[in-house]
């Protein structure tokens, strides 16, 4: 193997790929821009939806309940502490819900007043449209307002009887989260970040791997290359390093997009969960370990991708094989998505792909077990060697290299 030759091939292949607009757009530009763009668009529409559901709640009374007396009760006693709820006057309450003029309609028992005075329960029926997200969301706000009114009436009645309100609530619940902000944030990140990294590492190398071997075979550029002084091992390693490099560039580009998206919409990293990532810092040694394991996983994928691209008879065949590889890599990612880091069995730290996923989970949740991480790293290195061997054996077989 000749390092100078490897460097020449790597430089040329990188230059060639950089000039390929399609690859650059799909591997770097789109991942970098897509996530921030989605955050702006999706984040913006979610914010608007939340605002409409919680801050701009429109309510009406049914035709039968739309009396001066009930309106006064609702406005002054039920909604008086809820400035986000507006009581509207509509002619046809069903049509008003259907047309989204109002989100919720209240219908009172006819004898509600008598029951209220006699201390008997009465019913307020809430009508809403389940097919409309905003109507469904606003229902809870109205429900809360009625609950608050209920508590007020109960308090008044208990007080009138000369009793203490605490009699009704013998137990009070207080909750404490023993995990600090870092652990909470890490736990959420550990659900989707490992999967994202595996998908990106397996997808990032597809375009270059297909182009650099199957593409070269199809365009007849490989044969002249094999007649120069460069040995096949050097040529293979040059191409292999290019694929690895572009897989990692795709990961970096996407992660940059994720970070930019995070700054645009801090809630985005929790994928809609009711929390944001705050105070999250990974120890430098663990971060370094995560980077090294990512690189080795990228190298493993690159080796398999080069092997499959060499085996393929055509560009299209190579694309099909590599798409299957990406799908196969996603299976362990999804399978372990909800697995907790402290419950991962040790054997998973030596299985392909699962070793990297498990290590990422441990690092992100600060459940770091050095033995497990070393196992993951060593097994990753073994898989790199196996993948490279596979690629080299394909590349050296005449019948495979020259089959079209």
């Amino acid at each position: 193997m000749n390092i100078k030759h490897i460097w020449i091939v790597l430089k040329k292949e990188a230059k060639d790929i950089i000039r390929d607009r399609k690859t650059i757009i799909t591997s770097i530009v789109v991942p970098m821009l897509l996530i921030p763009l989605l955050n702006i668009l999706v984040g913006g529409s979610i914010s608007r939806l939340n605002y409409d559901m919680t801050e701009n709640v429109t309510v009406a009374l049914s035709k039968e309940s739309n009396t001066e007396e009930i309106r006064e009760l609702v406005e002054n006693q039920i909604f008086n502490e809820f400035s986000n709820i507006t009581l509207l006057d509509v002619d046809d309450h069903i049509e008003a819900i259907e047309k989204s003029t109002v989100r919720v309609v209240m219908d009172f028992d006819k004898d509600y007043k008598v029951k209220l005075e006699e201390g008997k329960p009465f019913v307020i029926s809430l009508m809403y449209d389940r097919s409309q997200t905003k109507s469904q969301g606003s229902l809870h706000i109205v429900w809360d307002a009625i609950e608050s009114f209920n508590k007020k009436i109960v308090a008044q009645r208990i007080e009138a009887l000369g009793l203490n309100l605490n009699l009704l609530q013998p137990v009070q619940v207080e909750e404490y989260n023993v995990a600090d902000d870092e652990k909470t944030s890490g736990s959420m990140l550990s659900m989707f970040l490992p999967l994202l990294i595996v998908i990106l590492l397996s997808a990032g190398g597809i375009a270059p791997a297909v182009d650099l071997v199957a593409g070269e075979k199809e365009r007849n550029t490989l044969e002249p290359l094999l007649t120069t002084k460069i040995g096949r091992s050097s040529l293979l390693v040059g191409k292999y390093l290019t694929v690895t490099l572009f897989s990692l560039i795709t990961v970096i580009a996407t992660m940059t997009g994720v970070l930019v998206g995070f700054f645009i919409n801090p809630g985005s990293l929790t994928m809609g969960a009711d929390a944001t990532i705050t105070g999250f810092t990974v120890p430098p040694a663990a971060l370094l370990m995560a980077i090294v394991i990512s690189i080795t996983l990228g190298m493993t994928f690159a080796g398999i991708q080069i092997a499959l691209s060499t085996y393929a008879k055509s560009f299209k065949e190579a694309q099909t094989y590599l798409s299957f590889l990406m799908m196969a890599a996603m299976i362990p990612g999804y399978a372990t998505m909800f697995m907790q880091a402290n419950e991962i069995p040790q054997y998973m730290f030596v299985l392909p792909v699962l070793n990297a996923l498990s290590a990422f989970k441990e690092i992100l949740t600060f459940n770091i077990n050095n033995t497990n991480l070393v196992l993951a790293l060593c097994s990753s290195l073994v898989y790199v060697i196996i993948a490279l061997y596979l690629a080299a054996s394909m590349f050296k077989k005449e019948r495979i290299l020259f089959r079209t």
């Binding site: 030759h5 020449i8 091939v9 040329k12 230059k15 060639d16 000039r19 390929d20 365009r219 007849n220 550029t221 490989l222 044969e223 002249p224 290359l225 094999l226 007649t227 120069t228 002084k229 460069i230 040995g231 005449e398 019948r399 020259f402």
Partner: protein, 243 residues
């Protein structure tokens, strides 16, 4: 000089090349004639060290194709017919320089050589343009330049005019003549009788992987009492090859 001794290549049960022996002297053009699938390309691929022979041996410029494969590759230039095999996104200059680098040439040496070749092939006006934007004739010239960037002693041409228009064919033939004038040892694989008659000092006819006849054109004509090379070829090959 090229020396081939009993070289064979089998792909499973298919005998692609069967015990071919021949010698091509310095400054000589040797034509390999044969129908499609006769074994011409496989022979050239073995000489270029792309394929390993099943048996037999060959030496190019004194280097053994198995033991000194890298040195053999450093001594040969090869030109394939049909597609030129250029990198479309690289400029012509970059395409040529890449092969110079892979043949261990130093940058100043490559630059100087590209200048000479650019002048010789009239490529100055499009040297900096991307290969994908060129016409087929222009691409062919870049492929010529690329194959001799390292000034090899031996040239292998595998059906270099296949699929080309008449003026491009003329260009390729001129290039081959120039190589001969520079003293290079050349093997030209072709199925064009007229091309072989025009360019070659000696001719070998391959049929079903075996070299069934070889000699100078005069020797062949005398031996087979026929003035027409095509007739001699048909007589020796006797129809289509079927492996």
């Amino acid at each position: 000089m090229i020396e081939i001794q009993n070289i064979s290549k089998h792909f499973d049960k298919v005998v692609a090349v069967n015990k071919i022996s021949l010698k091509v002297n310095n400054g000589e053009i040797f034509g390999l004639l044969g129908e499609n699938g006769a074994g011409k390309t496989t022979t050239l691929r073995m000489l270029a060290t792309m394929l390993k022979p099943t048996s037999g041996r060959a030496k190019l410029a004194g280097f053994d194709i198995i033991k000194d494969a890298e040195k053999v590759r450093g001594s040969i230039g090869i030109l394939f017919g049909g597609e030129t095999g250029l990198y479309d996104r690289l400029s012509c200059e970059e395409n040529i320089a890449y092969f110079g680098q892979l043949n261990d040439m130093k940058t100043p040496e490559i630059k100087e050589r590209i200048k000479v070749l650019s002048k010789a092939f009239g490529m100055d006006s499009y040297l900096k343009r991307r290969a994908g934007k060129l016409s087929k004739g222009m691409k062919q010239k870049v492929a010529f330049a690329r194959s001799i960037i390292h000034n090899p002693d031996i040239m292998l041409f595998d059906e270099p005019t296949s699929g080309l228009d008449i003026s491009s064919i003329r260009g390729v033939q001129e290039f081959i003549k120039n190589c001969k004038e520079e003293g290079k040892t050349i093997i030209l694989s072709s199925h064009s009788m007229s091309e072989v008659e025009k360019l070659c000092d000696r001719v070998g006819i391959i049929n079903k992987g075996s070299l069934v006849e070889y000699g100078t054109l005069e020797e062949l004509k005398q031996k087979h009492s026929d003035e027409d090379l095509e007739e001699i070829f048909i007589k020796l090959v006797g129809g289509k090859n079927e492996h």
